[in-house]
């Protein structure tokens, strides 16, 4: 079986396979052009007689749970990434699989972190065939060098949720880390020794997987409530001493950048939002947890105080900064899909206006409405952009895959999507003629903000008009590019082979671009 076969050019002009890991796939047809007509995932039908009468589903070890779940060659195993770079669970699963002699598994995490580097040895030995979801850090590097047996499959957060729910990605066994659970498997991420926030990425896994295993290091007496994951969807409960490395679990906490250039970018973005008339009483916006995004929030917060206005809602990445804003009356609500830091966790637990949300509610293409569409503005980072406003966030300019998509593609549905980037990194220009990998089509990127000026997508005549006399450095993107090329020199294009190693899926499940093997 070829990893990828029968390539064609899709609607974005990118060469993509139509057969991936033996399965037929649909090439990208354009934004909002693909309308699926089939019905969704059909999970295995269980019966109550198969489960203990006392509802106690605790088994001794994860190994027991995996064996009882019928772990065998070729299965797809899912995990979530709420324990970030401190996660132990994913590594345990594949160590056990190796011990049991199981081969050709597919790992479907919601995101991978450098702590998952030990899985490389299982990819090499054949225990894991390929990864679907997110590949970054050492795993991305491994895949980029063409060493993964199967083709990597990159999905956005919303895209993964959709794929699980609509049957594109069938999960055999979902192994779901929870900070607290009862014996029945009612579980959440807000109680227990190591709380992490909402279980937003995993609900669909627990509903649609053939078997669901809860792994926790805090067993509570029944009922464990809130029960974000319902015990009635759970097959087994495993209790361990420590579910992750506490120091690295919290390493995702974030701070406002101190870099003067990044602060300048954030400030331009904030001023643009104000000049464009987007900053007004009742605004809704999404605030990332990265340093530049937080600085943007900081500037917007200052302006809201000065103008005496407040937001209706913020979507997080919730952090201390967002919580402070709510406590100071600068927003009515926080919608929380991922929580960073203890202040945000206790707010989520105790403040009814700090609302946990499911990925389905904000990002999913199959939802009947999306919170992200309500957002007046979203600020995102990027590895590369191009003169046609296309954006890349997964590969670097040398073609190596180093980041997951995260919510990047999903955020494109906001009313105004801003990409905030420096114009160069280590002499390598960030604005290209053409992005190395297409992750977001240019028609959806509204504004690119750099430390050297602001470029507005020509399609957004409304924004161009609104900010024309703002005094902000609004420039043609080609003009900024020329300045940077003059400074940095024009880099030679990296040599990429014609061997596909991964694909980028668009939010609707069609194939947007191919990631090619990097020549050593």
């Amino acid at each position: 079986m070829k990893k990828a076969d029968k390539f064609i050019k899709n609607a974005a002009g990118r060469l993509v396979p139509t057969i991936i890991n033996g399965k037929q796939v649909i090439p990208f047809m354009g934004v909002n052009k693909y309308i699926p007509t089939h019905r969704g995932a059909a999970p295995r039908v269980p019966t109550i007689i198969d489960y203990p009468q006392d509802c106690n589903k605790i088994v001794d070890t994860l190994k027991d749970a995996l064996i009882k779940s019928g772990l065998k060659d070729g299965m797809t195993i899912s995990t979530h990434h709420h324990y970030r770079n401190g996660d132990y669970v994913a590594n345990w699963i594949f160590d056990i699989a190796a011990e049991l002699g199981v081969k050709d598994l597919v790992w479907a995490p919601s995101a991978a972190f450098p702590c998952h580097a030990p899985i490389i040895k299982h990819l090499e030995s054949g225990v894991v065939h390929h990864i679907e979801g997110s590949l970054n850090g050492p795993l991305g590097d491994f895949c980029s060098r063409g060493k993964m047996k199967g083709l990597g499959y990159l999905r956005s957060h919303g895209g993964r949720y959709r794929a699980v729910s609509d049957g594109e990605l069938h999960i055999d066994i979902a192994v779901l880390a929870a900070s607290a659970s009862d014996m029945m498997g009612n579980a959440n991420g807000v109680l227990g020794k190591h709380p992490f926030g909402p279980v937003s990425f995993s609900k669909t896994d627990s509903k649609n997987a053939d078997r669901s295993i809860i792994v926790t290091d805090t067993l509570l007496d029944f009922p464990c409530y809130p029960w974000e994951i319902m015990g009635n969807d759970v097959d087994f409960v495993v209790v361990v001493d420590e579910i992750g490395d506490p120091e690295k679990i919290v390493s995702g906490t974030t701070k406002v950048t101190k870099s003067p250039d990044r602060l300048l970018i954030a400030e331009y973005a904030a001023k643009f939002v104000e000049a464009a008339g987007i900053l007004r009483d009742g605004i809704n916006f999404q605030a990332g947890a990265g340093g530049t995004s937080l600085a943007f929030v900081d500037f917007i917060n200052q302006r809201m105080i000065e103008k005496g206005i407040k937001a209706r809602s913020l979507i997080g990445g919730s952090t201390k900064y967002l919580v402070d804003m709510m406590n100071n009356g600068r927003t009515d609500y926080i919608f929380d899909g991922q929580t960073f830091g203890l202040e945000a966790l206790s707010s989520l637990r105790d403040n009814p206006k700090h609302i946990p949300i499911d990925i389905f509610d904000i990002y999913d293409f199959h939802a009947k409405s999306n919170l992200v569409q309500m957002m007046d503005v979203i600020v995102l980072g990027s590895t590369e952009v191009d003169v046609n406003f296309n954006a890349n966030c997964v590969t670097h300019s040398d073609g190596r895959m180093l980041h997951g998509i995260g919510g990047f593609q999903n955020c494109m549905m906001a009313k105004c999507t801003i990409i905030a980037v420096p114009t160069f990194r280590d002499r390598i220009p960030v604005i290209k003629d053409e992005v190395t990998t297409l992750v977001a089509p240019g028609e959806l990127v509204d504004v690119i903000v750099t430390e050297r000026g602001i470029a507005i997508n020509p399609r957004r005549t409304d924004l161009i008009e609104a900010t024309m006399n703002s005094g902000l450095p609004i420039r043609d993107i080609k003009d900024i590019k020329n300045e940077i090329d003059d400074m940095c020199g024009v880099p030679i294009k990296p040599k990429l082979s014609d061997e596909a190693v991964a694909v980028v899926e668009w939010v609707d499940g069609t194939i947007l671009d191919t990631i090619w093997k990097v020549e050593e």
């Binding site: 003067p260 002499r427 400074m487 020199g489």
Partner: protein, 394 residues
């Protein structure tokens, strides 16, 4: 004779710089080794640059190693030249990058100098985007921020930076070393579109004259090079007026309080009360000589409120500008130099009265029952100018 020498910086935390090591050999031709994080993109380009430069200097046999962290061409060229000149001090020519057209703008004697941002002369990373943050002036510093072993290397780097980087209209200043080392600095940068030379630890009129003599001898350009002496000692304070009035090309007088407080044997406090005399002297000397008075730097980059208060105080004393060491200080300084609402209203009334009097051909300007003298009108016009620049009025 030293046949091996290095110049530049390299390490995991270094960005936009490189370390160049050269060994001059007797035979075997030129060998270039490049370690670079941007090798895939610029490797061939960097090698060609190095080959061209060695050829220019007539080097036929050498081992050259470049350890690069994304340095721009002008930095790599400067590092090669510096290493080569260390290895062979007999070399006197310079390998000059082409002057970019954005580097050739001019300044004027009474240019605004509210903020002047210090940039360490041997750290290219901090120079690249320095012009984007709105400082009135930028100081490429060859003195205290440069290690004594790196003086030659920094001088070449600053020269290349002046020919290459777009500082977006900010006045370009170079702080030279104390004389006589400072003469070497003047030689390297004087024809490179530098606007103002800062003379550190200035204590006498003669030092200003010596600097001017050196400039006059070397300056091949039409545009004048201005001077800003820095008063940093008890003696300098007492000689402030003779220094400020030493020559026509002096545009401002400034002071350095770290060295001054050490010189008078006190510890510098947050209130800077112990420096009151020195500050007063500098303001008075500058104004008497008809030049600007510029206050020292505020070193706590995290204390923006403290900075704001400090600058308000400086403004109240008569200073026209303030030094800064971090781009985020610039806007705070500019804000603190804005006139207050009351100052603005008063200035508007005075200027209106002056304009009316001028229109009517009256020699005497009066506001209500008060006569207004020429210096008051001038001050009011300055307040309006500052208000306009700060966006307070149209």
């Amino acid at each position: 004779m030293a046949k091996i020498a290095s110049a530049g910086n390299y390490g995991p935390k270094i960005r936009s710089d490189c370390m160049v090591t050269i060994e001059l050999t007797d035979s075997g031709g030129v060998h270039i080794e490049l370690i670079s994080k941007v090798k895939d993109f610029f490797g061939d380009h960097i090698i060609t640059l190095a080959q061209d430069e060695l050829k220019f200097f007539g080097v036929k046999n050498a081992k050259l190693k470049i350890e690069d962290q994304g340095a721009f061409d002008f930095v790599i060229a400067a590092r090669i030249e510096a290493a080569l000149k260390k290895a062979d001090p007999s070399i006197t020519t310079s390998y000059l990058p082409e002057i970019k057209s954005h580097c050739t703008y001019t300044t004027s004697k009474d240019a605004l100098r509210r903020s002047r941002l210090y940039l360490p002369g041997n750290s290219p990373k901090l120079m690249l985007n320095a012009g984007l943050h709105g400082a009135d002036a930028l100081i490429l510093d060859l003195e205290d921020s440069v290690h004594p072993d790196e003086k030659d290397s920094a001088r070449i780097l600053v020269r290349n930076a002046l020919r290459t980087i777009n500082f977006h209209g900010a006045e370009k200043m170079v702080r030279i070393n104390q004389l006589p080392l400072g003469f070497e600095d003047i030689k390297e940068v004087i024809n490179e579109n530098v606007h103002v030379i800062l003379i550190p630890k200035c204590e006498s009129k003669q030092q200003v004259l010596d600097v001017n003599e050196s400039i006059d001898e070397l300056n091949k350009t039409e545009s004048p090079v201005y001077l800003m002496p820095i008063i940093e000692s008890a003696k300098g304070v007492l000689h402030a007026y003779e220094i400020a009035s030493a020559s026509d090309n002096i545009v401002a007088l400034t002071l350095g309080l770290e060295d001054y407080t050490a010189d008078i044997g006190v510890t510098r406090s947050k209130s800077e009360a112990e420096c009151f005399f020195a500050k007063s002297m500098v303001v008075n000397a500058a104004k008497a000589a008809g030049v600007q008075a510029i206050d020292t730097v505020f070193s706590d980059v995290n204390d923006m409120e403290g900075l704001f208060e400090n600058v308000k105080q400086a403004k109240a004393m008569g200073f026209d500008g303030k030094g800064c060491i971090h781009p985020r200080q610039i806007r705070v300084i500019h804000k603190a130099f804005l006139p207050t609402k009351q100052e603005l209203e008063k200035a508007q009334k005075i200027v209106e009265a002056y304009n009316a009097a001028k229109k009517e051909g009256k020699g005497v300007v009066s506001l209500g029952s008060k006569m207004i003298d020429a210096p008051v009108v001038k001050q009011a016009q300055h307040v309006l100018k500052m208000a306009k620049i700060g966006g307070m009025i149209q």
